[in-house]
């Protein structure tokens, strides 16, 4: 049975309108392709606006000794050498140009006394490297890219969600989706598709991520046969708000520590002295998150189960100028004046290092015609991402994905797909309404987030992960019985039901990869394998769909060439 749908056609379809998606679209347009951008929210609302700290780029405006080699080395070290070295190299080399480009398109960064772009210190970066706009760098980036794209003439399909990629043989040739507003279906025909859908934080209870972060792109790619990699590496940002309950998990930018903020426990101790005496509060995120978690577990936490973060030793005017949105966030939501007293903070699920495996040069996935850039893709960050390396990632690999996708579109035909694929996709969406009774998607989602939080969180062990997986299997059965109330007109319950499917796929990939890696490395900490194991340090875990089932395999981490090894070995 075929259900009505509209059709749109483009050379390049970009799914997601955050930093990576917009940058990809701009590049594809610049190469003469016709570009459609699909996003679940309104244009300009993507999660990138939440990025506060800055864009890491070795421009050497503040620390003249900085260069791409140092940035490359910091990134590889932060990622515990599981990174794709070539991605880390390209990223470090190209980031400064991508920042300059933003400035040429109208972005206004904070300035040095000489009138150049100001750079600030951040965890894991040897030099002052983060180009920033107070603590709202992500918003500046989104606005700049959005205006640029509008001016160049991309078609934006706002409040539209993609539920399935269309394939022709083994290549991707389009996507099926629905308009959130009306609930009608739409088919996009495209010669290449760029995934830029972000992460999966909404599968955890305490998270800094918005409702959009449901692992859509990873699940779409997985369903289309693409490989995922490094799925065990989920970043818990050390500093989320812990109080009041409604804002639990909301991000407290690392820029607070970059600007001199200090962590203390209930006893007033600077506990980071015990966990990383050298880098202290600006240690990498995995280390700081575990430190806070441990302090709380051992009874030295604050009243609401966090640590104190204090910037009030700095002049009030300085704090308000450098951290304006933090100042307002705490004043308005927590009744705390951060210029006068400490904040209470604790770890929050923040970022997915793992994702779709891509080629370093082109951002192409293992499925022809399918590209991935930004958080949805994996490789650059390895086992742990450094703060500031996400915004630069979006720009560098967003551009490369758009470039390669446009080039491919220039040399391939549109591809043909069989209508049955569309029927399947639309039938799945309507099934939620057709059941006479069943559970609310919100109930299943609540239980999933509890499970991921308690069993697949910061510290993991075999028993927890196995029971987590058993629960995920139960949630799958419950998902089959979800019933959605109401109509197809802007119905968030319906949208969540679909997003849940993606979350379940990705959650399973995370839990299974975490169970497989029997060591602790970067963001992955096993209490039953507390040490790093050099043999695991040479392997990435790849997840792929084989004959309808999820299969895991191990791949050797690609070795950097000798000249780069020399860079890595430098003190």
């Amino acid at each position: 049975m075929s259900r009505p749908y509209e059709t749109r056609e483009h050379d390049v379809l970009v799914v997601g309108a955050g930093g990576a998606g917009l940058r990809a679209a701009i590049e594809a347009l610049a190469r003469g392709a016709s570009v459609g951008v699909v996003c679940k929210s309104l244009l300009g609302k993507a999660h990138t606006v939440m990025a506060e700290g800055g864009i890491a780029a070795a421009m050497a405006n503040v620390d003249p000794a900085d260069d791409w080699r140092a940035h490359f080395r910091d990134t590889m070290r932060g990622g515990k050498f599981l990174n794709n070295w070539r991605m880390a190299q390209i990223h470090a080399q190209e980031a400064p140009d991508r920042v300059r480009e933003l400035e040429q398109w109208g972005a206004l960064f904070d300035r040095t006394a000489d009138g150049d772009i100001l750079q600030r210190a951040f965890g894991g970066h040897t030099f002052k490297r983060l180009c920033h706009v107070g603590d709202r760098t992500g918003l500046e980036m989104i606005r700049t890219l959005q205006d640029r794209g509008v001016q160049m003439g991309f078609h934006v399909y706002m409040e539209c969600a993609v539920t399935k990629l269309l394939t022709d043989g083994d290549r991707v040739c389009g996507a099926v989706g629905y308009w959130r507003e009306q609930g009608r279906f739409v088919v996009f025909r495209a010669k290449s598709v760029v995934l830029a859908t972000g992460g999966i934080g909404k599968a955890w209870k305490i998270t800094s991520n918005s409702w959009e972060y449901t692992g859509d792109g990873m699940a779409l790619a997985f369903d289309a046969g693409a490989e995922l990699v490094d799925m065990e590496f989920v970043q818990f940002h050390p500093t989320g708000m812990v109080w009041p309950p409604g804002v639990q998990g909301l991000l407290v930018t690392e820029a607070v520590r970059g600007e001199g903020g200090v962590l203390r426990n209930r006893l007033g101790e600077r506990f980071m002295e015990r966990y990383d005496p050298e880098k202290l509060d600006l240690s990498t995120r995995d280390v700081v998150a575990r430190a806070i978690y441990t302090e709380v577990r051992e009874g030295r936490g604050t009243e609401h189960g966090g640590a104190f973060l204090d910037i009030s030793q700095k002049p009030a005017e300085y704090v308000k100028r450098k951290l304006p949105s933090m100042y307002h966030q705490f004043l308005e939501l927590a009744d705390v004046d951060i210029t006068k007293g400490p904040m209470e903070v604790g770890p929050t699920c923040h970022y997915m290092m793992g994702g779709v495996r891509v080629d370093a040069e082109t951002a192409e996935t293992s499925v022809p015609g399918l590209y991935a850039a930004g958080e949805v893709a994996a490789g650059l960050h390895g086992a742990n991402r450094l703060g500031g390396n996400s915004l630069s990632d979006l720009l560098v690999f967003g551009r490369r994905a758009g470039l390669a996708a446009a080039e491919r579109a220039g040399r391939t035909g549109p591809g043909a797909f069989d209508e049955r694929q569309i029927d399947e996709a639309t039938a799945e969406m309507l099934a939620f309404f057709e059941r006479p009774d069943g559970e609310s998607p919100y109930a299943v989602h609540r239980d999933l987030t509890e499970t991921m939080q308690s069993l697949v969180g910061i510290f993991r062990n075999r028993d927890d992960l196995e029971s987590g997986l058993a629960k995920i299997r139960e949630f799958r059965d419950r998902w089959d019985r979800i019933r959605v109330e109401g109509s197809r007109l802007f119905n968030p319950g319906w949208h969540l039901a679909r997003d849940l499917k993606a979350m379940l796929t990705v959650s399973e990939a995370v839990a299974r990869s975490a169970l497989r890696r029997e060591e602790s490395r970067g963001a992955h900490s096993r209490t039953d394998f507390a040490r790093s194991d050099p043999t695991w340090g040479k392997k990435n875990i790849v997840v792929k769909r084989v004959g309808g089932a999820m299969e895991l395999s191990e791949r050797p981490v690609p070795e950097p060439p000798p000249d780069l090894k020399t860079i890595l070995e430098a003190p």
Partner: protein, 246 residues
């Protein structure tokens, strides 16, 4: 546990009604938390826009007890506890469903504005002082609350002739960009209808980013329009000496 009573608009462009919901109140709770509770337990199809829940994306705009607000920044304990909290969609835009309105008109206005156009031969040096005033405008999160409250749009429906405060802020950001070389005064006068604004300052009052829309954006823009169109001498001087960047 304490309870709050919310009366939320449920309906479409064809009409609707206020529906009452009872929601448990936790410390520090905001109106958006209450709406999420309703979705999660009472009405899974309640249509609400939101993203960041931190006042950074401008998605969750609505009217709370008749006042245009970001629901994610409106604390329940800031509202009178002795009567129901009434939540309705923004009035100046057509309702799609429940609290979600059609704001696409704003995106159309935005398209009319010529982009940043750097002056030829710039060395890309800027001082923080020059950047500061523009950064104020760049804080805009496009919540469209100022558009919603401006009487030219809200009461007189002049969407065809008037761009609205949000876009005056955007034009101000471009006009006052230290390196921009374009003039947008003709656009302001002829297409964005700056003249309709009679400086009531309602927009400034509702801006969640505390942008001084009227004093810092609109009034200086009005001065530029006057200079360019009604003061030929000032215009001539500027042509000779360059714009005085006040």
């Amino acid at each position: 546990m304490k309870e709050a009573v919310l009366r939320v608009f449920r309906g479409t462009a064809d009409g609707g009604e206020l529906v009452e919901y009872r929601v448990p109140v936790a410390p520090g709770m905001v109106v958006l938390d209450a709406l999420h509770h309703i979705q999660g337990y009472l009405a899974p199809d309640l249509a609400v826009r939101w993203n960041c829940k931190a006042g950074k994306c401008g998605s969750c705009s609505a009217e709370v007890n008749g006042r245009p607000r970001l629901t994610c920044k409106t604390r329940m304990d800031s509202l009178p506890a002795d009567r129901p909290i009434v939540v309705t969609p923004m009035k100046a835009f057509p309702v799609l469903r429940d609290l979600v309105t059609d704001v696409s008109w704003n995106y159309e206005v935005n398209r009319k504005i010529p982009p940043f156009s750097p002056r030829a031969g710039t060395d890309w040096k800027m001082s923080q002082a020059d950047v500061d005033r523009v950064q104020e405008f760049r804080k805009c999160i496009e919540c469209f609350l100022c558009q919603n409250v401006c009487h030219v749009l809200r009461d007189h429906g002049k969407k065809r002739e008037f761009g609205g405060p949000r876009f005056f802020v955007r034009v101000a950001a471009l006009e006052m960009h230290p390196l921009d070389g374009l003039s947008r005064t003709k656009l302001l006068k002829e297409e964005l209808g700056l003249g309709y604004c009679n400086i009531t300052k309602c927009c400034t009052e509702v801006c969640p980013e505390d942008i001084h829309i009227t004093d810092n954006a609109i009034i200086p823009l009005k001065e530029r329009v006057i200079d360019d169109f009604y003061d030929p001498l000032a215009k001539l001087l500027r042509k000779v000496f360059g714009r005085k960047r006040t």
